[in-house]
């Protein structure tokens, strides 16, 4: 089994059609349904949605001192909006989960394997 990070990429300031409360409700149900499906299949390791990037703080070493600054670390249009960590036999199975996720969330998903000593 290999673990994969499915990261959900959001684009800052991207204009989307505002959702009606019903649509919002429906989207939440779909996302919950998908997570249930992942759990039932034994694929879901962990998932989470992140707050906006301007809530981030960066901590780094500078001249031997720890320095704390306002984030985000990278100012970019695209940012990590949330992620799933899943476990599957191979990339195809992980891509199937990513396809279902992007269909529900509507944002592109990057699928990236976790490093392990057997891989490269």
């Amino acid at each position: 089994m290999t673990q994969y990070l499915l990261s959900v990429h959001s684009v800052a300031g991207e204009v989307r059609d505002p959702m009606t409360p019903e649509q919002m409700q429906q989207a939440f149900q779909q996302i919950n349904g998908l997570e249930e499906e992942m759990k039932t299949a034994g694929a879901l390791v962990f998932s989470g949605r992140l707050s906006e990037p301007d809530t981030a703080t960066v901590v780094r070493m500078s001249g031997g001192e720890v320095m704390t600054t306002d984030g985000p670390f990278v100012e970019a249009k695209e940012h990590l909006g949330g992620f799933y960590i899943i476990e599957s036999d191979d990339l195809d199975a992980a891509l199937d989960w990513a396809a279902k996720t992007t269909a529900v969330i509507g944002a592109p998903i990057e699928v990236r394997p976790f490093w392990d000593s057997h891989g490269a």
Binding site: D89, D90, D92, L95, V111, P113, W115, G119, A120
Partner: protein
């Protein structure tokens, strides 16, 4: 290491035909794809498989010229490679782990469970789907396919695409690392996945062919790539007999190949379809290609490769440009446009329309296309403008086309057209090569 039967006391084996190094190389090119594919399945590691087949090649170079060809060279290569791989893995510390895994794999979850119902599939089919997995870039797909299935050396792949050898080596290393790290599976997709997974495989084979036909790296590179593309298409036909697009691709490549040599004059310049010596077209390839097209038509599941093959089959039938069944070609392009609505297809359709309805009708279609960076677009416009007696515009278009053309043959031809335009009657024709 010393061969026990080397030296003057070697027993006579005159039954076996003598072969030289080039012949050993040729046989390995032919057979190595199968061995690499099998070893990848057994050892689960591409590098191990490649190194082992390389070891077997070195061994064959030492043995075969003296001892003659083994009765079944392909079987010899696979068995010898497998033994070489085990020897190598025993010598390496990381190998012990891999060998244990292989032992587990072969004892435990052995084939039947993983094998798709009923059929033992050729490992090369697994390999081509892995090489052409959509998670890999097209460049990587092409390089891996040529290296692993085609048995081309890295420097040969690099030369064919005019890329420095270290660049190509790096591309291959990266692709193999991704296959391993992301666990791109080594299996034939299920029927429901084929609509997504087969097109990139066909596209890679087609790309290898067109890269060969238009290779700026010269005749030798062209022959290698075009030959390899046809070999891969044949292989795929033998492994996936039920897929009409696979057959369509083979037919298309055979029909294109039948006139590849007639496209280039003795002095290296390009010869357009109109001016080609049709007696130089390869009749055997045409016959084979046309037979496949007819079988495809009977199956009635058209797709882009079958339709392109059918168009080429009509060209192959015609004794001259004028005698060509252009209205049938336009009808096929209409169908092609509905399954592959790309501007390039629309451009080719416009050329055919020009032969039926005249250059003005064609130019109106061409001018609506967004293909500014594509040299056949400008070459086509140039020809239509010339036929519409607008030489100034035609010269501009030829010059633009020449500046964008990838090969010297095409550049020279197009620049020559621009120069000759002031001459009396144009001898050129539509941009179909």
């Amino acid at each position: 290491m010393r061969d026990s039967d080397a030296g003057p006391a070697r027993p006579t084996r005159d039954a076996a035909p003598t072969i030289d190094d080039a012949e050993v190389g040729r046989i390995f090119r032919e057979e190595s794809g199968r061995s690499v594919a099998t070893l990848i399945r057994v050892f689960g590691d591409i590098d191990v498989a490649e190194d082992a087949v390389q070891d077997a090649f070195a061994l064959a170079l030492r043995k075969w010229p003296g001892e003659g060809l083994p009765p079944n060279p392909g079987g010899w290569i696979t068995t010898t490679s497998r033994n070489c791989a085990i020897d190598r893995l025993r010598r390496e510390s990381r190998g012990h782990e891999l060998l244990r895994e292989v032992a587990v794999l072969r004892r435990g979850d052995d084939r039947p469970a993983q094998e798709e119902a009923g059929s033992v599939q050729d490992d090369r089919l697994r390999l081509i789907f892995t090489c052409c997995h959509p998670a890999l870039s097209t460049e990587a797909q092409v390089a891996l396919t040529l290296r692993l299935l085609g048995g081309l050396a890295t420097y040969e792949v690099a030369r064919a695409f005019l890329v420095a050898e270290p660049t190509m080596a790096q591309r291959l290393v990266r692709a193999k690392r991704k296959i391993k790290a992301a666990r791109i599976p080594y299996r034939v997709p299920q029927a429901r996945e084929l609509p997504q997974r087969l097109p990139p495989v066909l596209a890679v084979i087609y790309l290898i062919y067109t890269a060969g036909a238009d290779s700026p790296a010269g005749q030798n590179a062209s022959d290698i790539l075009c030959g390899e593309a046809i070999r891969l298409a044949r292989l795929l036909v033998s492994l996936m007999a039920d897929e009409p697009e696979v057959a369509g691709l083979l037919a298309l490549l055979l029909l294109a190949e039948s006139r590849r040599h007639a496209r280039i004059a003795a002095d290296g310049t390009l010869v357009l379809l109109r001016d080609q010596d049709r007696s130089r077209w390869n009749r055997a390839m045409i016959t084979e290609g046309q037979a496949i097209v007819r079988a495809c038509l009977r199956g009635n599941r058209p797709g882009r490769y079958q339709l392109q093959a059918a168009i080429n089959a009509l060209h192959a039938d015609a004794v001259s440009m004028e005698e060509t069944d252009w209205s049938q070609i336009v009808a096929l392009y209409d169908q092609l446009l509905s399954v592959a609505p790309t501007p390039v297809v629309a451009l080719n359709r416009a050329v055919a329309v020009g032969e039926v309805d005249g250059p003005a009708a064609a130019l109106a279609l061409v001018d609506g296309l967004d293909l500014d960076g594509y040299h056949p677009f400008h070459a086509t416009r140039a020809d239509l403008l010339r036929r519409l007696h607008r030489p100034g515009d035609a010269v501009d278009a030829y010059q633009t086309a020449a500046s964008l053309a990838p090969t010297a043959a095409e550049r020279d031809f197009l620049a020559g057209q621009a120069e000759r335009l002031s001459d009396v009657a144009g001898l050129d024709g539509p941009w179909i090569t």
